[in-house]
């Protein structure tokens, strides 16, 4: 008895994808071909279910279709190699559906995450493979999200799987010790997916797949699989607390609105509330990691009903901590901003001088942009205008460029 395809069906289908892949990969012991087969089954489902309805056992349907595709791949591979004797052995793997379903492991999705985010992969291939194998997105959707041709994205995924094969990574959960070492790579990939989605959510043009929402979903699933892990919770909190501001960062003319000028009534209080709760629970676990710290900073911002009420001393303290846990030029820059808010712009400008000799940052647009903002606060408008223009020329983001040029023009007067 089929069910009508409705608004929840797509979500269901995507949730099933990694479960199905886990089952098929485990049965056939060939992750790469299984992944191709499951993708084919997903595309078949996306094509047929909206018209024919959602099957009574959707997961079983997907497993069966994926297995059939696997057999097609295996047979053509055998035909290629002309080794008919292996046909019997291979077809043994096509066990009955109940057997396959009984073999399924709730950890399969976690296994897939670790595989897809294997350190042997480049970031772009890990992102592509994770979105397909764990996210259940089609190649076309991923290609569209990253604005590259479908063939290019298909190749990234192919190369990712080749790298996994070469690394010899087995289809099993890494040991608890291995997991500790491998988890940062997983979280990093999820964070990159979120960043890409959030960065491209500015403005309304270009209907691209909502990667930020997808990253939140995948991270939520990861948290369900690793409920005790504080950094996973911290990452999810950070995503929610950042995503909460999405509606407020674009103006009516698609212009960028900085944090201190955003209409906070447009912030999503439900996401803020959930993010705050998650973070509080994570911090109670004791160890404070990178994502938790960043989430903590986001909470302080999101808690302030008006920009003027922002608890900058607390943010400053958090950046000082972040600078010790995970120093980076960007952290130093953000620390300088917070320091300027607490101790005044001259102090902030002094801190920025240390960055002038840092080759990673010296010619970065943000250094010039922050400097311009602080110079403006000291009343040195001419220097501020100059630095706003330098920043505008350096940035590769059109919304940022427009924003910075407009700041320079504002100061220069009409």
């Amino acid at each position: 008895m089929t069910k009508k395809w409705d608004a929840t069906s797509e979500h269901l289908l995507r949730e099933l994808a990694p479960q199905v892949l886990g089952a098929v990969a485990r049965r056939f012991r060939d992750f790469s071909t299984a992944e191709d087969s499951v993708q084919e089954a997903m595309i078949a489902a996306f094509t047929q279910w909206p018209q024919q309805g959602v099957p009574e056992n959707p997961r079983g349907w997907l497993i069966q279709v994926a297995c059939r595709r696997m057999m097609d791949h295996v047979r053509s591979e055998i035909a290629r190699r002309e080794r008919e004797t292996t046909v019997a052995a291979e077809t043994e793997n096509l066990a009955s559906l109940p057997e396959i379903e009984a073999d399924m492991d709730p950890d399969d999705t976690l296994i897939l995450l670790f595989m897809c985010c294997h350190p042997a992969l480049t970031s772009s291939s890990a992102i592509a493979l994770t979105l397909r194998a764990v996210g259940g997105l089609t190649t076309a959707e991923i290609a569209n999200a990253f604005l590259v041709p479908e063939a290019t994205m298909a190749q990234r995924i192919s190369r990712a799987k080749q790298a996994i094969k070469t690394s010899g990574a087995p289809f099993r959960l890494p040991s608890p010790q291995e997991r500790a070492g491998r988890l940062p790579a997983v979280l990093h990939v999820l964070y990159l997916i979120f960043s890409e989605g959030y960065a491209s959510s500015i403005g309304s043009h270009l209907q691209r797949f909502d990667l930020a929402r997808e990253a939140i979903r995948l991270t939520r699933n990861t948290k369900t699989l690793l409920p005790e892990n504080a950094e996973v919770a911290g990452l999810l909190a950070l995503m929610l607390l950042t995503d909460a501001r999405r509606a407020a960062r674009t103006g009516p003319d698609e212009e960028l609105i900085p944090l201190d000028k955003q209409d906070r009534s447009l912030w999503d209080r439900v996401e803020i509330s959930e993010g705050t709760e998650l973070l509080t629970a994570a911090l109670a676990k004791g160890s404070v990691g990178l994502y938790q710290l960043q989430a903590a900073i986001a909470v302080v911002h999101d808690e302030a009903e008006r920009a003027e009420e922002t608890d900058w001393p607390q943010i400053l303290a958090l950046y000082e901590l972040l600078n010790r846990v995970s120093p980076s030029p960007m952290v130093t820059l953000n620390h300088a901003i917070a320091a300027a808010m607490v101790h005044g712009p001259v102090h902030g400008l002094t801190l920025l001088r240390a960055l002038d000799t840092d080759p990673r940052l010296a010619s970065h647009y943000r250094l010039a942009a922050v400097r311009a903002h602080l110079l403006e606060r000291t009343g040195d408008y001419e220097a501020a205008i100059e630095h706003y223009r330098v920043a505008a020329a350096r940035t590769t983001s059109i919304p940022e460029r427009n924003y910075l040029m407009t700041q320079a023009a504002r100061l220069a007067g009409d």
Binding site: L147, Q155, S195, P258, T396
Partner: protein
């Protein structure tokens, strides 16, 4: 990050190229095709385009009486765009390496490398 790699030439340069022996032109085309295939295989290819002869090109400037003002002149020595590649790569160095390969395949003519501006913002 997306980069555009620009190959430009002069009318004189293009005419000299057209005067190459046929097999040299074909060999050149073959190398460029190989580069494009490799770029797809590596997951870096976004687009490539050869442009029509600038005989057909027009330069348009504003309107007069509601009609575009067109001007098709390309002086003999002026450089014009012959074609471009758009690639999606993780570092500028990779973009330069690809440009270097295109240059090597094309009598070492210089290839201009420019990063795309994005409609995104990390803020």
């Amino acid at each position: 990050m997306k980069y555009i790699l620009l190959m430009s030439g002069t009318r004189a340069g293009v005419e000299a190229y057209h005067a190459w022996p046929k097999q040299d032109i074909e060999a050149h085309m073959a190398v460029l095709h190989r580069i494009n295939r490799d770029l797809t295989e590596s997951g870096e290819f976004v687009a490539t385009q050869g442009l029509a002869e600038p005989k057909e090109a027009k330069v348009v400037r504003g309107e007069k009486n509601g009609l575009p003002v067109t001007d098709g002149i390309f002086p003999e020595s002026k450089e014009f765009l012959l074609g471009y590649w758009i690639v999606d790569v993780p570092t500028a160095e990779r973009a330069y390496a690809i440009a270097g390969r295109i240059s090597a395949a094309s009598v070492n003519m210089p290839i201009e490398v420019r990063q795309f501006a994005t409609r995104e913002s990390k803020s």
